[in-house]
């Protein structure tokens, strides 16, 4: 498999892996580029001892980890465009807003996980990798994969409970309103 084939077949995997590892949307193209530069340099050394996807994820993990450290040093604000500043008709603002909101919630939860747990959790629950593959991708034992998954699940649940407790406060208004509307027979 040559570089271009790897790129075509795995770009999407790399992109979502980076995002799930916490690389912000404004940075993910740069990060993906970094990953594939490494792939380009090292593809010849990859001898098929492991699955390509686990090898790629290992690279993604290192790139995401480096970026995370870097982000502590210099915070970039360039992804900070106001949502509604662009009245460009080509951009479907509503869809953007919905998607951003849904992902914002998820990322809030994932942000509470240490990177090594986050990697295990997202690979297992979202990417549906096997424990064995995850162990290979991260260079850890399967037992460690399971224990990290357990910890990550606990943390995720706590984060979700906190978030929902917080958000439920606002949901009350909507639910009350729905009740009012129902009573009023408006719809």
């Amino acid at each position: 498999m040559n570089f271009r084939e790897v790129y075509e077949q795995h770009f999407r995997f790399v992109w979502r892996s980076l995002r799930r590892l916490g690389v912000r949307e404004s940075d993910v193209q740069d990060a993906a580029q970094d990953v594939f530069l490494v792939v380009h340099r090292k593809l010849a050394e990859f001898e098929g001892k492991s699955k390509l996807s686990t090898w790629l994820f290992g690279i993604c993990y290192r790139v995401a980890s480096d970026r995370k450290k870097l982000a502590h040093e210099r915070r970039r604000a360039d992804g900070d465009e106001p949502l509604l500043d662009c009245a460009d008709e080509r951009v479907d603002v509503a869809a953007v807003a919905e998607r951003r909101q849904a992902l914002a919630v998820l990322e809030r939860m994932l942000d509470e996980l240490p990177l090594e747990q986050r990697a295990v959790f997202t690979l297992f629950e979202l990417e549906e990798m096997t424990g064995e593959d995850i162990a290979e991708a991260l260079g850890i034992s399967v037992g460690t994969v399971y224990s990290r998954l357990r910890l990550a699940r606990e943390t995720f649940k706590k984060a979700a409970a906190r978030f929902h407790a917080r958000d439920q406060f606002h949901g009350v208004a909507a639910s009350n309103l729905a009740g009012l509307k129902k009573a009023g027979g408006e719809r």
Partner: protein, 364 residues
């Protein structure tokens, strides 16, 4: 040793798995895909760095995109800002059903009952709700004096919407008769955390009758409906507050808002909470100045002030109020086409906003 079952395979609450809300979140994560055009853009950037590929017949010395997408997809996207490109194109790429599902997830997430009402969290919520409710009220008051197409009904609807929010902030029952909130001259966010925290606890039971799967799953119809009826500022503001503070797409924002490290969760330390409250007060104060300028008939001055707010709080909690005022100001400076375009964009982005009804009047 065999793998545990995945949460999404377990089904609702099956065998100690995830809650339906957690599963919705995970589904959002599974559906994550790069936006259209991203693959080509990164490919071009790569070729610029590594030069023409020498390996294999598929090497692309001309730097053309590796996939057979429409040749103009890249250039079009490239013209848009990075964020807009990624998110806009990505949204377009996801199937409609997936979008609806995501929207439903948000809606459900927004309504799910939790178990912890942290005082720290409640504080920030209180600040957000208070600020938003006051600004909504103030905005309504300011703009109700201005000539508007379809003015009568929409303004009264808004007043209704702001009333309950204000009433709730004072701890009054939501079902009390809608009262027009007093227009504040000074926002004093952060003074009401304790009552609100208690309210959170109290409302756990109040939401018992809420239908479980309610949300955008009916294509936003329901959400639209509640917006039209004047959804209290609180709900909207809350979601926006979440967006602003938990915004994952803008590292700068999270850093600035929470004052903590990159990727940190919402910081509930007193200092961070205080900082958020103080930022919100400032945002609210500036919007109040813009509103006053608009009331004086100084639409140009209002626009200037709104631009300042935009620069200082690009992901502000009160982004909807800012945008609504901007639309109003544009209209009054005679820039009606721009007002119309922005109002349309606003309505697409926030169909259930408390401002939605009246902003419809600006759409030509």
């Amino acid at each position: 040793m065999s793998d545990p079952r995945r949460w999404l395979d377990l089904g609702d609450e099956g065998g100690g798995g995830a809650t339906p809300q957690e599963m919705d979140l995970l589904r959002t994560g599974r559906a994550m895909q790069p936006p259209a055009g991203a693959q080509d853009e990164v490919w071009r950037a790569l070729l610029a760095q590594i030069g023409p590929l020498d390996g294999g017949p598929d090497g692309s010395p001309d730097g053309g995109p590796p996939d057979a997408g429409p040749p103009d997809a890249g250039p079009i996207d490239a013209g848009v800002t990075a964020t807009a490109t990624q998110t806009g194109a990505g949204a377009g790429q996801v199937a409609g059903a997936a979008q609806v599902a995501e929207a439903a997830q948000v809606a459900e997430a927004a309504q799910v009952a939790g178990h912890l009402a942290w005082v720290g969290i409640a504080k920030s919520v209180a600040a957000g709700v208070l600020g938003a409710a006051l600004v909504v009220g103030g905005y309504t008051a300011a703009t109700s004096e201005t000539p508007q197409p379809q003015r009568g009904s929409s303004v009264s609807v808004e007043s209704r919407g702001a009333g309950p929010a204000a009433a709730r902030m004072r701890g009054a029952p939501f079902s009390s008769a809608p009262a027009y909130p007093p227009v504040p001259t000074e926002v004093t966010g952060g003074t009401a955390p304790v009552p609100v925290a208690q309210q959170v606890a109290g409302q756990e039971s109040a939401r018992g009758g809420e239908p479980g799967g309610r949300g955008f799953s009916v294509g936003g119809e329901l959400a639209q409906g509640s917006g039209a009826a004047g959804e209290p500022g609180s709900g909207e503001a809350a979601r926006r507050e979440v967006g602003a503070q938990g915004e994952p797409l803008s590292p700068g924002a999270s850093g600035r808002v929470s004052g903590t490290g990159e990727g940190a969760a919402l910081d509930t330390t007193p200092a961070a909470v205080a900082e958020r409250a103080s930022r919100l007060r400032e945002e609210s104060r500036m919007l109040g100045e813009a509103r006053d300028a608009l009331r004086r008939g100084d639409a140009g001055g209002a626009m200037q002030k709104l631009d300042e707010v935009r620069v200082r709080f690009p992901q502000g909690v009160l982004v909807q109020e800012r945008e609504a005022l901007t639309i109003e100001a544009l209209y009054r400076t005679g820039n009606r086409a721009a007002a119309s375009a922005r109002a349309a964009a606003f309505l697409r982005a926030f169909p259930n906003s408390p401002h939605a009804t009246r902003l419809q009047a600006f759409v030509q």
